[in-house]
Symmetry: C2
Subunit: 188 residues, 2 copies
């Protein structure tokens, strides 16, 4: 189960076997059923989650009580509420399992001490955080620039695996288009 | 001139005097006149810029040729096009001085070798990148959630210094409202 995370760590930074064993020993393997919450809006997010298997979404409720999805994550992705994790303030979003999901989770205090012990881990997360920044910038540029049909085509193109696994009404929410219009686009 | 960056580095990570001297010796102090470009859209961004004095904006041209501003930066802020810097692809945005501006700039190869020599510098940029991620998430949440008047009040509240120094028409562009409506909001 931890092999996937080991591979991911090694994709970006060179670690010895014993370093990886030590680092991995601090993670907890946690299993979530479909619809279980990994994080609840309003709670402080103290964990980073690495998806070993499954699919999750991050969302919040808008002022009218509608769910607004701001991120999906599948195998090999990290997910957390960065602002809540870094600042210790209540999370503005929930994270929910869409499929039965297995994660490796690590809490803030543990990761801080691992950064001290393994500066290379800090390198890994410096790179991962840059990649998250790039991903979120791309997402919002798409939103600000593209019309809904172009948004859909961009999503299908950039994240084809998601479009297979995520329920259609959730894709519609993520793209901020109606499920009816999404259905039309899929038929076109 | 480099004292400002030294203070900023020490705000997040403990460095010795000699470490800071070594690190700072790799930065170039560059001065830009008003309207000079630090980075041109379509070029690969090979630098990170730390603003010592002045004010810059990052913007791109939309399909109709209109300028879309996505970031301002003043003293003590870092600015770059992260995607271009990390991936080596052409930058989707330009960075332009709004005031006469003095920056400390560092290029990608140099910073990569400094990360190896000073893992603490990697710690600093891991933290800075997390903060950038939080800032961009906040900005886009505001866009997706708030109406134009609320966006303006949020901007005035979060970035009061900017509202004093940035020309009104640029604030309007950043908030995606018309200059006329901004003028009405300011009088209200």
């Amino acid at each position: 189960m931890s092999q996937r995370l080991k591979n991911h760590l090694r994709k970006y930074v060179t670690f010895s076997d014993s370093e990886l064993e030590d680092i991995l020993s601090h993670f907890r393997l946690v299993s979530y059923a479909k619809k279980d919450l990994l994080l609840q809006e309003g709670h402080v997010c103290t964990q980073k989650f690495f998806i070993v298997e499954g699919l999750v979404r991050s969302y919040h409720l808008d002022s009218k009580g509608n769910e607004k999805i701001n991120q999906f994550a599948i195998e090999n992705w990290w997910i957390t509420n960065v602002e809540s994790f870094v600042t210790g303030t209540p999370s503005s979003s929930s994270i929910e399992a869409i499929e039965p999901t297995l994660v490796l989770s690590i809490d803030k205090n543990t990761i801080e001490s691992l950064y001290i012990k393994f500066p290379k881990l800090e390198r890994y997360f410096r790179i991962i955080t840059e990649n998250m920044l790039i991903a979120i910038q791309r997402r919002y540029e798409v939103f600000l620039q593209l019309k809904s049909k172009a948004r859909y085509l961009n999503f299908m193109n950039q994240l084809p695996e998601f479009s297979q696994r995520v329920p259609q009404y959730m894709i519609a929410s993520y793209l901020e288009i109606t499920p009816e219009y999404l259905s039309e686009l899929r038929k076109a």
